[in-house]
């Protein structure tokens, strides 16, 4: 009963040659256009300000398309882990699924229910997306570059939108804003499920900002600077990534980043099974899509931040280091960085499809009773190491981490219940036979 033309289009699009051919053609076209227009923007490339603006534009386009691709990627991974194929209908391997999704979101009816608080209802998705996109400004994508036509003694340009001297404090500030989108959506929807979602989001975000901050402070103590590009350069110069120094800090940051991005197992604000979608229950069409894109953009920011802080950013052993500022080295660095980010996104997604969701009291207990004490202990240990001048000594840091782990194991063995155990004030279940 389906339209034969639609069917024909579908079969054509499912051929890999068509998809990859079209992709290559577009790529060629863009490259050709860029090459043709090169004299026009060549002067722009030479000054830091205009170059930063170009980086901003390019990265914004890249990231917005990456968020769309992420959705496909996530569904694929979900499918694979559940012995399915995931979307594979629209285009070869489902590669055109993001386009179809986008079209669907655009064409859906945009409902604004009558009972909502309209200004806030409209503001919330925009805030959610904007707050996640703001963080990209300080990611050092590819180190420094000096174009071939620049004089050899000119200072190299940094491929960063803004090299703030407050560094990742800015990221913390922007990250702490992302809660407003969710909370306002919950409030404005005037719906109890959405409201619960918003409340949960507020409590969760505040709680997990602490371990995140503590983990970041450990890195700050190790590197002695807040500027992300310098942190990356330090790691590249010594070849010792911060993860080797402080695996526990990495773990803290990873867990908190998952929670801040509202990703499973911390996706309580939108828990479908309990809250029918939580804060975005009342949203449809493009406004819903903005929440969706915001979540993925947030995930990309978190991954990029973690890669810069713990995994050496664009550095990889054997590849061009910080002293190599040629343009091809920049491309390699960018590729390395993006690969690492992609791996992290894959990890985030794998975690989502592996772990069950926390209960809310468990979530709070994990943050306040385990992550925060661990973070404080680790911070104290790192401060002691820094005082002794051993903060970049791998063996000393690892020893401190191992010691902390041992103490953790010891206290875990002593405590009668795991952190995620049943709620304490519930009555004991007793189903012993009466006789």
């Amino acid at each position: 009963m389906t339209d034969p033309t639609i069917k024909r289009i579908e079969t054509v699009l499912r051929k890999p040659a068509v998809i990859f051919g079209a992709g290559a053609a577009i790529l060629l076209l863009v490259t050709a256009l860029l090459a043709l227009a090169f004299p026009l923007y060549k002067p722009l490339l030479s000054s830091q300000f205009s170059f930063s603006m170009i980086v901003l534009a390019v990265m914004l386009v890249l990231i917005l398309s990456a968020t769309a691709l992420c959705i496909l990627f996530e569904r694929k991974i979900a499918g694979f882990t559940q012995d399915r194929y995931g979307p594979n209908r629209v285009g070869f391997w489902g590669l055109l699924q993001p386009v179809a999704d986008g079209l669907k979101f655009l064409l859906k009816e945009d409902i604004i229910p009558r009972h909502v608080d309209k200004p806030l209802f409209l503001l919330a998705p925009a805030l959610a997306l904007a707050a996640s996109l703001l963080g990209f400004a300080i990611i050092p994508w590819a180190g420094q570059v000096r174009w071939p036509w620049m004089p050899p003694d000119a200072p190299p340009l940094s491929t960063q939108v803004a090299n703030l001297n407050v560094g990742f404090l800015y990221l913390l500030a922007v990250g702490s804003l992302s809660v407003y989108g969710v909370v306002l959506a919950g409030y404005a929807s005037n719906n109890k499920y959405a409201f619960y979602g918003g409340m949960r989001a507020a409590a969760q975000m505040i709680s997990y900002e602490l371990p995140l901050g503590l983990g970041l402070l450990v890195v700050l103590l190790v590197s002695g600077t807040l500027q992300l590009d310098q942190i990356v350069q330090q790691q590249a110069a010594t070849g010792v990534w911060n993860i080797f120094l402080h695996p526990i800090a990495f773990f803290l940051v990873l867990v908190s980043a998952l929670a801040e991005a509202n990703r499973a197992p911390f996706d309580l604000p939108e828990a479908e099974q309990e809250l029918v979608g939580g804060y975005h229950t009342e949203y449809s069409a493009m406004k819903f899509a903005m929440f969706f894109l915001g979540e993925y953009a947030h995930m990309i920011t978190s991954s990029a931040l973690i890669v810069a802080l713990f995994f050496g950013g664009w550095h990889f052993w054997g590849l061009p280091g910080p002293e190599n500022v040629t343009w091809w080295a920049m491309l390699i660095k960018l590729a390395v960085y993006l690969t690492k980010v992609a791996l992290f996104i894959a990890l985030f997604m794998l975690v989502r499809w592996t772990l069950p969701r926390f209960r809310f009291d468990q979530l709070m207990r994990v943050a306040w009773q385990s992550l925060v004490p661990i973070g404080v202990a680790l911070l104290a240990a790192t401060a002691a190491l820094t005082y002794l001048g051993w903060q970049r000594n791998v063996w000393a840091s690892l020893a401190a981490n191992l010691l902390l782990l041992a103490v953790l194991l010891r206290s875990a063995a002593r405590s009668k219940r795991p952190v995620t155990a049943r709620q304490e004030d519930l009555p004991e279940i007793d189903v012993r036979p009466t006789t």
């Binding site: 009963m1 389906t2 339209d3 991974i77 694979f80 882990t81 559940q82 012995d83 399915r84 194929y85 794998l350 975690v351 499809w353 592996t354 772990l355 953790l408 194991l409 010891r410 875990a412 063995a413 405590s415 795991p418 952190v419 995620t420 189903v431 012993r432 036979p433 009466t434 006789t435």
Partner: protein, 200 residues
């Protein structure tokens, strides 16, 4: 239930390493990763639906499936329905629309001039099937019910009869039409019920 039917399960004690949850998380990740790269299992489990359909080896129980309706024909090839309105009365979704007309055949009074079922409104409960005194309306196991417009899914008499032609083999009509009182065709008329005779 007796008390000794109750099985008391004790929560297993966790080792210190398990209390950290990390080994468990890694274990879980291992499981998901294993499934991710297990192509053989995926191929074995998934049916690429429109291209591959499952063969019915008995476990699908298609005979019980409530799919698209069909209008049965009697052995003479006429529509079996007698336009008694039982099905449209029984229908909880009010999706059956019948217009009756004087039957051109001697063995019944009425026949459906028009017989429309709105498949989008139907809830596939099967009450029409049960209500029908002559087993004229039946639900077939066909589940592929798609179209580009809503109008296409309001099936009229011709389409329903056509579905009967298509599904004759899949779901044979279980009983001969009751109108014939166990006989086939019109030759049973002379022994049929008095009022029918009277009409002739």
């Amino acid at each position: 239930m007796r008390d000794d039917d109750i099985i008391v399960l004790k929560e297993p004690e966790l080792t210190p390493a398990e209390r950290l949850y990390l080994p468990q998380i890694l274990d879980g990740l291992k499981t998901t990763l294993r499934h991710m790269f297990d192509l053989q299992r995926r191929h074995a489990v998934v049916h690429q639906y429109p291209e591959q359909t499952r063969e019915d080896t008995g476990e699908l129980r298609t005979a019980n499936y409530h799919g698209v309706h069909r209008l049965n024909k009697d052995p003479d090839g006429r529509v079996a329905c007698v336009a008694c309105f039982m099905c449209s009365t029984a229908c909880p979704a009010h999706c059956i629309h019948i217009e009756a007309g004087e039957s051109p055949w001697p063995d019944r009074e009425k026949y459906p001039v028009q017989f429309d079922i709105d498949e989008l409104r139907c809830i596939y409960c099967g009450l029409c099937e049960e209500a029908c005194p002559v087993d004229a309306i039946e639900l077939t196991p066909l589940y592929e019910l798609v179209s580009c417009t809503r109008e296409e899914l309001i099936l009229d008499k011709e389409k329903l009869l056509q579905i009967y032609e298509e599904t004759k083999g899949i779901k044979p009509r279980r009983n001969p039409p009751v109108t014939d009182y166990g006989l086939t065709g019109t030759q049973g008329l002379d022994v049929a019920e008095p009022n029918m005779k009277r009409k002739v």
